[in-house]
Amino acid sequence: MNPFLDPAEFSEEPTGPEYLLHLYITGATPNSTRAVRNIKDICEEHLKGRYELLIVDVYQQPELAQEMDLIGVPTLIKRRPGLVRRLVGDFSNRERVLKALGVAPPAGPL
């Protein structure tokens, strides 16, 4: 969380895409597939060309579950920019997702 702890990542920031997102899913469960679809839609719509999305299937790498302290699935971890945030769910609540990602919602009612 503290960017000073990882100077490499810090220095690297300007070069990589603005948004670094890790999405942890569990196989092809309805929640997971919905989550993948929703997050892709959101990113394409609001962060086009500014993001990097990594999708991890925890079933394939179960040790990651502990490492990443996963409880609810699907979980999206926003690594950049700003504070690390965790978003749990299938991202059907678009307003919340955008708020959590720090993306200003487009003008006008959603």
């Binding site: 925890v58 040790e63 609810g72 978003l87 997702v97």
Partner: protein, 578 residues
């Protein structure tokens, strides 16, 4: 693992159980927790839920070679390790041996944003991975309710927790789930709905400023179990559920006799002492030498080379040693030789159960032949009467089963009610000696009597005794005009009797002298008479002789005359006979 309840002899297959290895708990649960099923441990803060979970895992690893997974929702692995290190549980070492996995689940609401449908599959994967990686047989979920603070969607959470328990069951791991006690319910979030196989309730009660922890098995599906509330303790070796009262009265008995340490007191018993393994109660009001009697017994035990454990709830060991030395009871040398062990503590230092456990532990360590508790009444300050009675019942039971002779002293208050003790333990003890003040005019004396002695005849007398520089001495019975007398009355009585005896003696002597005098007088009289008689006799004899002489003279004169005149032959001479 499945045959831990040999007492229940049945051909039917029994519920397989996982022994917890926690002292006492396996006895109550008759073998352990249900194997392959979840068990709920609920209790309020500070009950030792987490500790019980960890001990279950550690004992499983150490005693039964069953690896375990600890999923902690509240404390981190390092915190947990530090907390239990004092109990000798080395979690990092067990983790290094791949026998234990500790997974700290960090739940922080502020970090989590719910954005739609989700499930707790992440938790399942973590747990599944942890279980599979070390082949765990035991799992502890320490306060899964922490999830409720992190995930607001209760519907999802509840269905997922239900699924989790089902999943753990299918995995065949024995699971302990700890949960915080709720208000009026077993758990705050109603987890008992989901865990229906075994529920253990821990309770932390403060009565009169003293805390007692208790454990109760609320339910145990498919198995019998102890239903009482069992006190338990967190000791240096982990949790210790209190030694259960033995259900049957079938302990072996001994025919050997132990001396009370006071020879005269032994004489009052039909078999010159107490039975070995029996329990003896000495009751009395303040200052009736109960402790001294108890110390005499302890000294006697040690003199015979046996071991004695003395619990002093009133005096410090040094004070006790000094005081007993003043009455020639030398306990110090026995302490030095290791035969006597004095454990002194204030009763209020801990709860009743702690006392009981301390006692159990010491008995196991020290293996005494006799135990002295002075006095048991002080324990009343710790608990209420019912608790004390139940504790003493357990204690006496335990000592009897162990074949240890027990001597308790008890302070009774007031007079006239010596027939009952506050704790009502009198029916539990085998021998009951009562010491009391016999208060007379202006003085108090100590009296001792045997109220009961199971299995042997005993004296019915109230004996006065004194505490001398040479120990306790029972005095001879002195019967006065209105019964047995004691103290100064006894002395007076004795003096009176002495005076009477003296007077009687003098009277006798006087009569003897009178007799002698009379005899002498009579004898003098007799001598007088005899002298008188002798003189009369003498006189008479004199007269006789004179008469005879005269006669002779007369005869010779006649002869001379007859010679001149020849005698006539036909007439005999009458004087010839004289």
């Amino acid at each position: 693992m499945q045959e831990h309840s040999p007492s229940v002899a049945t051909a039917l297959p029994k519920l397989p159980k996982s022994p917890t290895g926690i002292e006492g708990l396996d006895e109550i649960t008759e073998g352990g927790l249900p194997q392959g099923r979840p068990t709920l441990i609920c209790g309020s803060a500070g009950c030792g839920k987490t500790l019980m979970g960890i001990e279950f895992l550690v004992r499983g690893i150490q005693n039964y070679n069953e690896p375990g997974v600890l999923m902690a929702f509240e404390e981190t692995a390092s915190e947990l390790a530090a907390n239990v290190a004092s109990l000798g549980f080395d979690l990092p070492d067990l983790q290094a041996q791949k026998m234990l996995r500790v997974d700290h689940v960090h739940v922080d609401r502020s970090e989590i944003e719910e954005t739609g449908e989700y499930d707790l599959e992440g938790l399942f994967i973590r747990l599944g991975h942890a279980i599979d990686s070390i082949g765990a047989k035991r799992v502890v979920l320490d306060t899964i309710e922490a999830l409720f603070s992190g995930f607001p969607n209760q519907g999802v959470l509840r269905s997922e927790i239900r699924r989790l328990f089902r999943w753990l069951k299918d995995k065949g791991v024995t699971t302990i789930i700890t949960a915080e006690r709720g208000d009026g319910t077993l758990t705050r979030q109603g987890l008992e709905e989901y865990v229906s196989d075994c529920v253990i309730l821990l309770d932390n009660r403060v009565i009169d400023q003293i805390t007692t922890r208790r454990l109760r098995i609320v339910k145990y599906r498919g198995s019998t179990h102890g239903t009482n509330e069992y006190p338990y303790l967190i000791t240096e070796d982990g949790i210790s559920v209190l030694p259960v009262t033995s259900l049957q009265l079938d302990h072996p008995v001994s025919d050997n006799i132990m001396s009370s340490g006071v020879p005269a007191l032994d004489e009052m018993f039909g078999r010159r002492g107490f039975y070995q393994g029996s329990s003896v109660l000495i009751t009395g009001t303040a200052g009736t030498a109960k402790t001294t009697l108890a110390a005499s017994f302890a000294e006697k035990v040690c003199q015979q080379g046996q071991r004695c454990l003395l619990f002093a709830f009133e005096e410090a060991p040094q004070q006790l040693l000094r005081n007993m030395k003043s009455v020639n009871i030398d306990l110090a040398s026995h302490v030095a030789s290791g035969l006597l062990r004095i454990e002194a503590s204030r009763p209020t230092i801990n709860g009743l159960e702690q006392h009981l456990v301390t006692l159990h532990r010491l008995v196991k360590e020290f293996r005494p032949d006799a135990i002295v508790i002075d006095p048991i009444t002080n324990l009343v300050s710790v608990g209420n009467t019912a608790e004390v009675r139940s504790m003493l019942t357990r204690l006496i039971d335990f000592l009897k089963v162990s074949g240890i002779t027990a001597l308790f002293t008890a302070l009774v208050s007031g007079r006239g009610q010596h027939e009952m003790t506050d704790e009502g333990v009198s029916s539990l003890v085998d021998t009951w000696v009562s010491v009391r003040d016999l208060e007379g005019i202006g003085e108090r004396n100590r009296g001792l009597s045997i109220l009961k002695s199971r299995g042997m005849a005993h004296s019915n007398q109230v004996r006065e005794f004194v505490v001398t520089e040479h120990g306790i001495k029972l005095l001879d019975v002195v019967v006065g005009p209105i019964g047995i007398v004691t103290g100064a009355s006894r002395l007076t009585q004795q003096l009176q009797e002495q005076a009477q005896t003296l007077a009687a003696q003098q009277e006798t002597d006087r009569r003897d002298r009178e007799l002698e005098r009379r005899r002498r007088v009579l004898e003098a009289n007799i001598a007088n008479l005899r002298t008188e008689f002798e003189s009369v006799e003498e006189e008479l004899r004199q007269i006789n002789t004179e008469a005879q002489n005269r006669q002779e003279t007369l005869t010779s004169g006649n002869l001379r005359i007859g010679a001149a005149n020849p005698p006539r032959r036909d007439t005999p001479a009458p004087d010839e006979k004289v």
